[in-house]
């Protein structure tokens, strides 16, 4: 233990992730990745930036009537025109933007709730730890998406209700992972020395323990993107997202399904939008896993 204090006391610069040497190490690992992986991570960043800029680059507004209904794809309307005469390209882009950032919001809340539960459980006495983990197990064992269905049916359909409901069931995985990491880190000498120098509770957790759990959380989060996108799109397809005119991919595909034999572009392109995002998410998820673990 004395060795631990000597080894860590001087060198430790408390602070989040950004100030630690981790970021440098990550860039180095990024350079060592294969081309496919680098492209995947690049695509993740590019899609995020592109979707941020969608209101600027979308040719039309979400509810603008721009042409006669159900016109086939053409140079003027690359993805065609829907049943109400709206530009499918603009609506798909706006829908992708909603899906993408909704997904990030749920993952963020999952990390926040799960991370808090995990850190508290990992640093607490066995009694608290056990009861928190049993609670997590119960949540893990419950069929999350089905409960979301019930919650949204009860509260009435809206994107916010769906996101809150999904957020409520999406944290247990993170709690398990963070708790495991925290347990492992808490046994290390630098935490012991921090405890001895008087760090307690929040500051101990924030400065000395939580940063170490960031890697595995990042990996889980990136592998989660596509699963979550598909779940949210499915719920929206069932009519559990925003009400009618809002450009949501799942809902657009569902309403357009009537036209599958007469105007295939109406249901196909919104569904393809989900696919593109899910694919980017999956590729980048694998790449980020390789980067953090490799």
């Amino acid at each position: 233990m004395a060795l631990g204090v000597a080894a860590t006391g001087a060198g430790i610069r408390p602070g989040w992730f950004a100030r630690s040497p981790r970021l440098g190490a990550l860039t180095q690992r990024l350079r060592r990745l294969g081309v496919l992986e680098q492209v995947a991570i690049g695509a993740l960043v590019a899609v995020t930036l592109l979707l941020l800029a969608v209101p600027l680059i979308a040719p039309h507004g979400a509810s603008d009537v721009v042409a006669d209904p159900l016109r086939a794809p053409s140079w003027r309307f690359p993805l065609g025109v829907d049943e109400q005469g709206r530009d499918v390209l603009s609506r798909v882009l706006l829908g992708m933007r909603t899906s993408w950032f909704a997904c990030f919001a749920v993952i963020g809340s999952g990390i926040a709730i799960g991370g808090a539960v995990g850190v508290v459980a990992g640093l607490s006495r066995p009694l608290v730890d056990n009861s928190l983990m049993r609670l997590t197990d119960v949540f893990l064992a419950l069929p999350g998406p089905l409960l979301v269905l019930a919650v949204v049916a009860a509260l009435g359909p809206s994107l916010l209700h769906t996101l809150v409901a999904v957020g409520v069931v999406w944290w247990p995985f993170y709690a398990r992972i963070v708790r495991g990491e925290v347990k492992a880190i808490a046994a290390r000498p630098h935490v012991e020395s921090a405890r001895m120098s008087g760090a307690r509770g929040w500051s101990l957790a924030r400065r000395h323990v939580a940063p170490g759990a960031l890697g595995p959380v990042l990996v889980t989060a990136s592998l989660d993107i596509s699963a979550l996108l598909l779940t949210l799109a499915g719920l929206s397809f069932l009519g559990l997202g925003s009400p009618a005119p809002a450009p949501e991919l799942g809902a657009m595909a569902a309403r357009g399904f009537t036209y599958i034999f007469t105007a295939w572009w109406v249901p196909v392109f919104p569904a393809a939008g989900v696919f593109v995002l899910g694919f980017v998410g999956n590729l980048a998820g694998d790449a980020i896993r390789d980067m953090v673990e490799g």
Partner: protein, 337 residues
């Protein structure tokens, strides 16, 4: 061993209890007034108040929950506001169609997942491309796959029907309610083939996601096992590669894939709701969607309870199977308990 299984069964009871609490809590925060829904919008204040008292909505929540559990124990899930039938009856009526669809999808997912896992673990050349293709399949929403299959196999080729469970032919509906099994039992081969053809598109759409998930996990654990000493020994004693894979590799690698399969049942149960809507499959999923659209809350809670119970029970069965099959799981569970 027996104690471990009892342990799992105890956990099952706790989780089922939690499921009823969750559903009850959701019911309790419901903003729509169930009393008004039952007596009608034109009822006077006194009538509403009397009904509220009579239906027990003025009791404390704990008492209400006890009543709720009591009704559940009798198999009473309330009355559907839309169909005006008891929800239990409705569910019993629509369940066979969904059971038939999910079972065939689960079977397909297991077979496809195993093939995918083994092939991607062993295929040396081109496995990078294969991995990307598999990833692409994992990224496609169920309804996109369904749209494509309907366009190709129904519209273009005319090989498969795109809606419903069976053609308009004389049916022998038998003991199980599963059209394929009943057709087989009664020797009605027209019914069997028609039911199978109708099953094709929806069950393939449903199976793809879980198959990919199972395949990915199986690939990982298979690669792990194939690098171990006992596999080298099996090879060294001259077993054919196929025997090595099946007897010594696959058997030991199945554990993680099995638990993944259990978790995928959850995905299957939500996927089935989407697919039944797309394919006009007259099962629980379609009933769910219609109930949601009509704010038929008793029906929705009933389905969530039934499907949730199915999910929890299946996962417990998977756990117990793993305990029976793999001595290593037994060892770690004893150590951590």
């Amino acid at each position: 061993m027996g104690r471990l299984i009892l342990n799992r069964l105890g956990a099952l009871v706790v989780v089922l209890f939690a499921l009823t609490v969750a559903v009850f809590v959701i019911q309790a925060v419901l903003p729509a007034d169930p009393v008004r829904a039952s007596v009608g919008a034109n009822a006077t204040k006194e009538v509403v108040e009397a009904a509220r008292e009579e239906l027990g909505y003025n009791d404390p929540l704990v008492v209400q929950y006890a009543h709720f559990l009591g009704r559940l124990a009798q198999g009473d899930l309330g009355t559907s506001l839309r169909t005006r039938h008891p929800v239990t009856e409705d569910i019993a009526h629509f369940a066979p169609a969904t059971i038939e669809l999910t079972l065939s999808a689960a079977l397909l997912a297991a077979v496809l997942g195993t093939v995918l896992g083994v092939w991607s673990a062993l295929g040396g050349r081109g496995s990078g491309v294969a991995r990307t293709v598999i990833l692409a399949f994992a990224s496609a929403p169920t309804f996109l796959v369904a749209i494509f299959m309907v366009l190709v196999f129904y519209r273009r080729l005319g090989w498969l029907p795109a809606s419903g469970r069976v053609d308009r032919i004389p049916l022998d509906e038998g003991p199980t309610g599963l059209l394929t099994v009943d057709g087989l039992l009664h020797g009605n081969l027209d019914q069997l083939s028609s039911a199978l053809r109708h099953l094709a598109i929806p069950s393939i759409c449903l199976a793809l996601g879980p198959a990919v998930a199972i395949g990915r996990v199986l690939r990982g654990s298979l690669l792990d096992v194939m690098g171990q000493d006992h596999v080298r020994t099996a090879r060294a004693k001259g077993l054919r590669e196929r025997a090595v894979i099946v007897r010594h590799g696959l058997r030991n690698a199945l554990g993680p894939a099995l638990s993944m399969a259990g978790l995928q049942v959850g995905l299957l149960l939500t996927g089935v709701v989407v697919i039944e809507l797309v394919m006009a499959w007259p099962g629980l999923g379609l009933y769910t969607t219609q109930s949601i659209q009509n704010v038929d809350f008793p029906a929705v809670t009933g389905i969530v309870l039934v499907m949730g119970t199915a999910y929890v029970v299946v996962n417990t069965v998977v756990d117990v199977l793993q305990l029976l099959a793999d001595p290593r799981v037994r060892a770690t569970t004893t150590a951590s308990a």
